[in-house]
Symmetry: C2
Subunit: 124 residues, 2 copies
DNA sequence: TGCTAGCTTGACCTTAACGTAAACGATAAT
DNA sequence: ATTATCGTTTACGTTAAGGTCAAGCTAGCA
């Protein structure tokens, strides 16, 4: 699974240590990863890719996993989920701002480059 | 500035240690942060907020700061900038996917909640 | 059955990004 | 002028997220 997902075995075992994964074991004690484990790992990796801590990933996994029959539990989970959503939306805004800025810098550099080239041509 | 930006003084000094900031000093050796410093700090914090390392932030700051007169330098910077842009775009996609997923979970939870409430009403 | 490749656990090591404490100097308020 | 309140430097501590290495299992294959 490690190769498949482009991540070290140590990392996977580390995630398990932290309770983010819990694969079945074979007779001889070897780990068996099912489809669900793969899904969870993907979610973890995606979370990490934009700066969530493992703990936050665990929270999200916890949210996705729970199937409580108590309305109060659902409400609690919902309000927590909304916090995360708000956070995501902020990040989205930030990311877009950053993107715009970089595009601006890029444009300026192209302009400067064109200016330099023009100067060189004139010097011929 | 720390309070203003919601970050510890230690962090700010740490960023300076790493070369990301370089404020002027007063007569008695105290740091004086100008507008440019604030701008840089904002960029650092935004970078951190979605998982860039300080080193990557430094790279971006370096890009923004440079004013080279060599076309080759500009080109180099441009290609690096484009890498970052591509990365940003990937992150944006990820973020949107995550957002959608969370929304989906939210919807399901609302539905389950409504179902529970309906059941309770019927029981009366 | 024996070999080889891969898995498991445990222990210790590393790096980034700070936190915290101590000892001293600078500034502001009274 | 003298406190009280900051700021400065130095040094050591801490936490998250793994890397690395050793010693012993296991599984598939000849």
């Amino acid at each position: 699974m490690a190769q498949e997902m482009g991540v070290s075995t140590r990392s996977i075992r580390f995630y398990e240590e932290k309770g983010l994964l819990s694969p079945q074991r074979s007779n001889g004690g070897q780990r068996l990863y099912c489809k669900r484990d793969r899904t969870r790992l993907k979610l973890i990796l995606r979370g990490k890719r934009f700066g969530l801590s493992l703990e936050q990933c665990a929270d999200i996994l916890g949210l996705a996993a729970l199937e409580p029959d108590e309305a109060s539990q659902i409400k609690k989970a919902l309000s927590y989920g909304q916090e995360i959503l708000v956070d995501l939306e902020h990040r989205l805004q930030d990311l877009k701002a950053m993107h715009r800025e970089m595009k601006g810098v890029e444009k300026k550099m192209y302009a400067r480059l064109a200016q330099l080239e023009a100067g060189r041509d004139q010097a011929r």
